[in-house]
């Protein structure tokens, strides 16, 4: 059962978003997040929401999966909404009771923030749904490569990320094995209070650490034997190409940003 786990939440597909260059997807996602914080009223915010709503069918990711990824947000949403509702003191008072006051401005801010967070998470989820972890790390490496000029070890960081992703399933299998081995020796992992159970984890963590170091040692040898010398002089099989598709996506996005600016300008800011 453990062999079936998939790293990340990539959903194989063939849509416009799947075929886009990982770099442009990453950049546009960040641009989206920034843009949504520049929306000043419901009109410009509405435009951004419309964009994210259009992206879902374009990605051909089932709506249900997107909604499921938003579910863990409920608590944060409620929390920020309550804070915004009662901590905004400016605006016309709609209702008040002892120390609690509810203003129209507070109401707007609460709704505004909730919609912002939802759209933001929905769009970044679409990025991870339509991009493989390998492409994501590759894209990040290439985007950050200008930082090499100021001695940031971009290649090493990306390689560490790739190796971490690669070894997650291996280590999960290992934990499974160690747990069975300790149970077979009579270890009790399920009963007792928190402290007791935390202590019971020790005989699992120590072998896991020891074997991870051994693996790292082996892996370093194997990589050296395959002529790995760091990022210097290394080429990549998979090339990333900025295609017409990416150009079109950037164009559409630029239009939406322009729309946000115009709507911000012509309608009264709410918050």
């Amino acid at each position: 059962m453990i062999r079936d786990i998939t790293i990340g939440q990539y959903m194989p597909g063939n849509s416009f978003l799947h075929k886009m260059d990982a770099r442009s997807k990453i950049v546009l996602t960040f641009a989206f997040i920034l843009a949504i914080f520049f929306c000043k009223n419901f009109w410009s915010l509405g435009l951004m929401v419309l964009l994210s709503a259009v992206l879902v069918p374009v990605s051909r990711v089932p709506v249900r999966s997107v909604l499921r990824s938003l579910r863990p947000l409920i608590f944060i949403l409620l929390f920020t909404a309550v804070l915004n509702l009662f901590y905004t003191k400016s605006g016309n008072v709609l209702w008040s009771w002892r120390f609690l006051t509810l203003t129209d401005k507070g109401l707007y801010t609460a709704v505004f923030m909730a919609v912002r967070i939802l759209a933001l998470v929905a769009v970044s989820t679409l990025l991870t749904f339509t991009t493989t972890p390998t492409d994501l790390t590759d894209g990040i490496e290439r985007l950050l490569s200008p930082l090499k000029a100021v001695k940031v070890p971009v290649h090493s960081l990306a390689m560490m990320m790739t190796l971490a992703l690669r070894f997650i399933p291996t280590l999960i299998e290992e934990i499974d094995r160690i747990m069975s081995a300790q149970k077979a020796r009579g270890a009790d992992l399920e009963t007792g209070g928190f402290v007791r159970r935390a202590k019971a984890l020790l005989p699992i963590l120590i072998p896991l650490f020891v074997s991870s170091f051994r693996r790292a040692y082996d892996l370093a040898f194997a990589m050296e034997c395959r002529c790995y010398r760091g990022g210097e002089g290394r080429t990549r099989m998979r090339q990333m190409r900025f295609t017409v598709r990416d150009g079109a996506a950037c164009g559409v996005f630029a239009l939406v940003i322009a729309g946000v600016a115009v709507l911000n300008f012509f309608f009264k800011p709410l918050i």
Binding site: L165, C225, C227
Partner: protein
Amino acid sequence: MDTFISLQNVSYTYESEEPSAPAALRNVNLQVRRGEFLAVLGHNGSGKSTLAKLLNAILVPTEGKVIVQWMNTADEEKVYDIRRRVGMVFQNPDNQIVATIVEDDVAFGPENLGLPPEQIRNRVDEALKSVDMYDFRRAEPHKLSGGQKQRVAVAGIIAMRTDCIIFDESTAMIDPKGRREVLQTMRRLNRDMGITIVCITHFMEEAVQADRVVVMDDGAVAAVGTPHEVFADEALLRRTGLELPAAAALAQGIRAAGIPLPFVLTVEECVDALEQAARKAGVV
């Protein structure tokens, strides 16, 4: 056949706290010939794995020298050039796969060599086909069986176009079916692509397939010869703690029971010999 790797009076001692630590290898002289399939046999602690690690400069001899073609493994500037000629497949398949997708992993070596992308693509496809894993090129390594993972590791070396591949007990951790797959791959690479194979193993069945067998015992070379020469030498086998391959042991048992059979090593030879014996006796 010309010499590809040559070990000259090689000794190796692992660094240790005790000054009197025993040497893992003592005064080994050995030639690996270009294009051959060489098996290195020995029980645990015989020094066979140390020998393997000396062949591509993972370890450098304490005494003597190892020469790959014209390069001394002790010369640090040559290490890269040695490793692009001599590849190595390790024991644990999990600890040598680098990427999360099969074809990306196979591409790792050629990428390190700095080849142009199209050329890497061709080499990766070719390498995956030659180990019969092309259909799994987009698979995630952790979902493969041990034998399949080990074949991916082999493809990663083939894609670098090394002249020689060392298998350091590469079949020790996988099931019998996977072991057969890997052994078949080794033979095919040796026969069809002319790759020199050095197979470090403690499975007699693998040694039987080789052109030559080196028997290691207590850090020294106990014998070098064809599989027939080595396995016919009963005194040697007893001294070094090796067993006869199953087919040979069967034939020996039948001989001991008084039925004349020639010396055989492989299952095929054993079947032929039995058939002939049966025919002679008029049973068939």
